[in-house]
């Protein structure tokens, strides 16, 4: 079987549209719901229903259970029955033993598992209730057949030896979505940065986040820059890069790059390499890596409503900055140069901030500089 290491050529290079067309005819889930299973199977097999009924009794899943089975899930998960002669079980018993003896090993294994506890529950959300009903006349059901891509977004990456690649969220997107829809969903704390010293008026609640001011961004996928040009003053970040590339000493080594618009390209138009990191840049220099980990056809298990896409299917826990004084709330303020606080800068939540550094009239005590910190745990 193919190894999961990303390779540029061969099996991992997928043209999404071709992938869809390859499979398009084979899968039609919607017409199954009408007939009963036996009838549809007999239709497929071209065999009378009675025969199928007989066969179905012979082959029913009950035949797979041993007669003395409990098969209670919980019990099964907990222990390995010792009377069964399966190599797998013996190995698993040894493994469980090893884990019990060595808690560190146990923790290590748990941490390195592929799925988190939380991930699993997301799969129950296929019947979602939306806060707004579908506009009339618009069918929000996902069209079949369709391609589902799994995109792994990472936290901002700094090209320094100390920085690690940290996964952030995983989204499911449909092939028919535009790239800009993915961009809108990616959350980054840099987007919520508020500039300026707000210590003079701490109670203002309306802020202009950086994402409202600097709205440009681009994806760089397979040699093409997909710029976000939806708003009139979005800059074309890729221009500088392409100019740099086309300088004399570089153009022969780094191939020419193309440009396209993010809002005009759908995922179906893309030619992807599964597992290869791609690039998303916004806010001038905030860089994220994206990896398409999986390309597959739509399945009944996936959310069936267009409104739920891009669908957040995995979320990682993010650290949050805790207020120094109460150690309970998330810090909303970053304070510099304050003699009353133990560190410079210090982090405080809004209530402690007001309580400590402002008198009863709301005037600032002391000479400090305070910036609003994003309370979004991203």
């Amino acid at each position: 079987m193919a190894t999961p290491m990303a390779s540029e050529t061969g099996e991992n290079r997928v043209n999404v549209r071709q992938f869809l067309e390859q499979w398009g005819d084979q899968i039609k889930y919607s017409n199954i719901a009408n007939d009963s299973e036996i009838e549809s199977i007999s239709a497929m097999m071209n065999v009378p229903t009675d025969t199928v009924k007989e066969v179905s009794e012979v082959c029913s899943p009950e035949t797979l259970m041993s007669s003395s089975d409990t098969l209670d899930r919980k019990v099964m998960y907990e222990t390995v029955p010792s009377d069964i002669d399966l190599t797998t079980l013996k190995n698993q018993a040894a493994e469980l033993d090893k884990r019990m003896k060595n808690p560190t090993y146990h923790n290590h294994i748990l941490r390195k598992m592929k799925y988190n506890y939380v991930d699993w529950y997301r799969y129950f959300k296929t019947e979602e209730k939306f806060s707004y009903p579908a506009p009339d006349g618009v069918d929000t059901k996902v069209r079949e057949p369709n391609v589902v891509l799994t995109v792994q977004v990472h936290k901002p990456y700094r090209n320094q030896p100390s920085s690690r690649l940290v996964m952030s969220e995983t989204y499911l997107v449909l092939g028919s979505h535009r790239l800009s829809e993915l961009r809108d969903v990616i959350r980054c704390s840099n987007d919520y940065a508020v500039s300026g010293d707000h210590s003079a008026h701490p109670d203002v609640t309306q802020f202009t986040y950086a994402k409202d001011i600097y709205k440009s961004g681009f994806f760089f996928i397979e040699g093409t820059f997909y710029n976000d040009l939806r708003y009139p003053d979005n800059r074309d970040y890729s221009q500088i890069i392409t100019e740099w590339v086309s300088q004399e000493n570089r153009w022969d080594r780094i191939g020419p790059f193309e440009k396209a618009k993010m809002e005009d390209t759908t995922f179906l138009d893309l030619d992807l390499v599964v597992g290869k990191p791609y690039f998303y840049q916004h806010q001038g220099d905030c860089e994220h890596l994206l990896i398409f980990t999986d390309i597959r056809m739509l399945h009944p298990m996936d959310p069936q409503d267009l409104r739920s896409y891009p669908y957040l299917c995995r979320e990682m826990n993010h650290k949050r900055k805790i207020c120094k004084s109460c150690m309970i709330n998330t810090a909303g303020w970053i304070i510099y140069d304050c003699p009353l606080l133990p560190s410079n800068p210090a982090f405080m939540c809004h209530r402690c901030f007001k309580a400590l550094l402002y008198d009863e009239d709301g005037n600032k005590i002391g000479n400090f500089v305070a910036y609003k910190s994003s309370e979004h745990p991203t």
Binding site: P4, I27, Y29, Y77, V80, L86, Q152
Partner: protein, 531 residues
């Protein structure tokens, strides 16, 4: 240090499936009833037992799906393929995960499946067809571009399971990808053998009913081609091993430096007698040459040791001291220095001489294995090292038990750091404090003077054989440092030393195997007498 590679959730699954399919094929039937009977008798529905919870089961299930699917595809024969399909059916309907996890199929695999279904349909095997249709109707298939999800860091778990996969011709000792082995996988070789056999049989058949061998005019392919392919592969593997082992020797030195505190799990499993010797090349020659000399301790701390066995070589030691000290500073940086300085090789703790404020901190037996007096010095130095050990033990009594892991790293780091700074003088308090922090390394190495009335103290037995050479050196340093420290403040030491020592006996047994950073390459058998 890689636990993840050690755990392969699907270990043993392939054997179980093979066994089931073999038994199934001996029955010469593709009827589902027979399969179900076999399934029940082998109690396959319990396959998922022991996976602690849904998420682990899910990961397990996804992997075994691949294995089961591979049995359903070419090049297996019709019966095995039918059996493979039945297995998929069985796995899907007995899986405990909710909602059910689908089977990932790529386009290529799907084509084969459809072809198989065509032939099944034409042969009117209703049960096989029904089984497939039922799976399809229940949306058990997921149509994908790649068999597994691809992420940049993922490694194929089944390929790292070298231990169990007995027919694997490839060993990835340094995680190097061997392009030959990716082409000549065991599956492909098996297929080649089967095809070649078929080919030979067909040729034989053409030659006539009584022919003993195929017609000479058809001799296009070498008769024993599989043999020669196998031989070539084995040779290739051996050549690679040679290259890798020489690389490994070099890398091993490097790794020892970096990971000397990562005792880890190997400490439990490795024979304490084991001294890792690089397999080839310069490193090996040097290691052998210095193996004997390694025992000598050149630590300064030996100078002032009052020992039961007269360790007379004080003047030597003073000479060596400077050499050693300078080396110490460099050592941390250059792993190569290991080879050039015999003193850094593992040392043997010797029967312990008197300790000033000694109490047997840890039950250790140190055998005297090589002759010269330096060894006794060394042992004392080791004892001295152990002294600074206990302070660190206090930090991590819990970690000592669970230590083969990063969690104890800082603690072990501290110890090895202290060993490194053995020649440096630091007071016990200072060193212990430093030992407690992970910054010890740099700090300790900076303090250069050595004063040590040696204190023979039981050092916790270092069980990680893997890092013997380097670890021994670390241990030496540590010991030296400790001894120096203990020597330096005999009086002041008393209190902390005693305190430390008191706690350590409690820790001796659990900590024995895991806490001590690899100090000894040879199991030290040192019996300490309380003073």
């Amino acid at each position: 240090m890689n636990f993840r590679d050690a755990y392969n959730p699907t270990r043993g699954v392939k054997e179980d499936f093979s066994k089931l399919l073999e038994t199934f094929s001996t029955r010469k039937t593709v009827r589902y009833e027979d399969f179900a009977e076999l399934w029940r008798s082998m109690k396959f529905s319990y396959l998922y037992a022991g996976r602690k919870n849904d998420r682990e089961c899910r990961e397990f299930y996804e992997e075994i799906n691949h294995i089961a699917l591979s049995f359903h595809l070419l090049p297996y024969d019709f019966q095995v393929r039918a059996g493979g399909l039945y297995i998929l059916y069985g796995l899907y309907f007995t899986q405990p995960c909710v909602p059910k996890i689908p089977i990932r199929v790529t386009h290529k695999a799907w084509k084969q499946i459809m072809d198989f279904q065509q032939s099944v349909h034409s042969q009117k095997h209703y049960d096989v067809e029904y089984v497939f249709q039922k799976l399809f109707m229940q949306h058990a298939f997921l149509f994908v571009a790649t068999p597994r999800e691809v992420y940049i860091k993922s490694k194929d778990k089944t390929q790292t399971d070298k231990v169990v996969d007995s027919d694997s011709l490839t060993k990835d000792s340094l995680n190097m990808e061997d392009s030959v082995s990716t082409v000549f996988t065991p599956d492909i070789l098996q297929q080649l053998r089967a095809i070649h056999m078929q080919y030979q049989q067909i040729k034989l058949g053409i030659a006539g009913p009584n022919a003993l061998r195929p017609d000479r005019s058809l001799d296009v392919v070498e008769d024993e081609i599989m043999h020669s392919i196998d031989n070539r592969l084995v040779q290739h593997k051996q050549r690679l091993e040679k290259i890798r082992s020489s690389q490994r020797g070099r890398q091993w030195k490097a790794k020892r430096e970096e990971h000397n505190s990562d005792d880890g799990e190997s400490s439990d499993t490795e024979d304490p007698d084991y001294t890792p010797v690089p397999k080839s090349g310069q490193a090996r020659v040097k290691a052998q040459a210095y193996a004997q000399q390694a025992r000598q301790s050149k630590a300064r701390r030996h100078r002032n040791v009052i020992t039961l066995d007269a360790c007379a070589a004080t003047p030597d030691k003073s000479l060596r001291k400077t050499k050693y000290k300078s080396k110490k500073v460099d050592e941390e940086k250059e792993e190569e220095s290991q080879l050039t300085s015999p003193t850094e090789e593992s040392s043997e703790p010797l029967p312990s001489p008197v300790e000033y404020l000694s109490m047997p901190t840890i039950d250790m037996e140190v055998t005297h294995t090589s002759g010269p007096t330096t060894e006794s010095d060394h042992s004392t130095s080791k004892d001295g090292q152990s002294k600074s050990g206990p302070p660190t033990f206090e930090n991590g009594p819990s970690t000592s038990k669970t230590s083969p892991s990063k969690s104890s790293t800082s603690f072990l780091d501290a110890e090895t750091d202290s060993s490194k700074a053995g020649t440096t003088s630091s007071k016990v308090s200072k060193s212990s404090k430093k030992a407690k922090t992970s910054r010890t390394k740099s700090v300790l190495s900076e303090s250069p003077d050595a004063k040590s009335p040696g204190k023979a103290k039981a050092t916790p037995k270092a069980k990680s054989g893997r890092l013997k050479g380097k670890g021994a050196q670390q241990k030496e340093q540590e010991k030296k440092k400790r001894r120096r420290q203990s020597g330096a403040e005999a009086g002041a030491d008393g209190a902390p030393a005693l305190k430390v020592e008191k706690s350590s006996p409690s820790k001796t047994t659990p900590s024995k195997t895991t806490t001590c950073p690899k100090k000894n390459s040879v199991p030290p058998k040192l019996v300490y007498k309380p003073v």
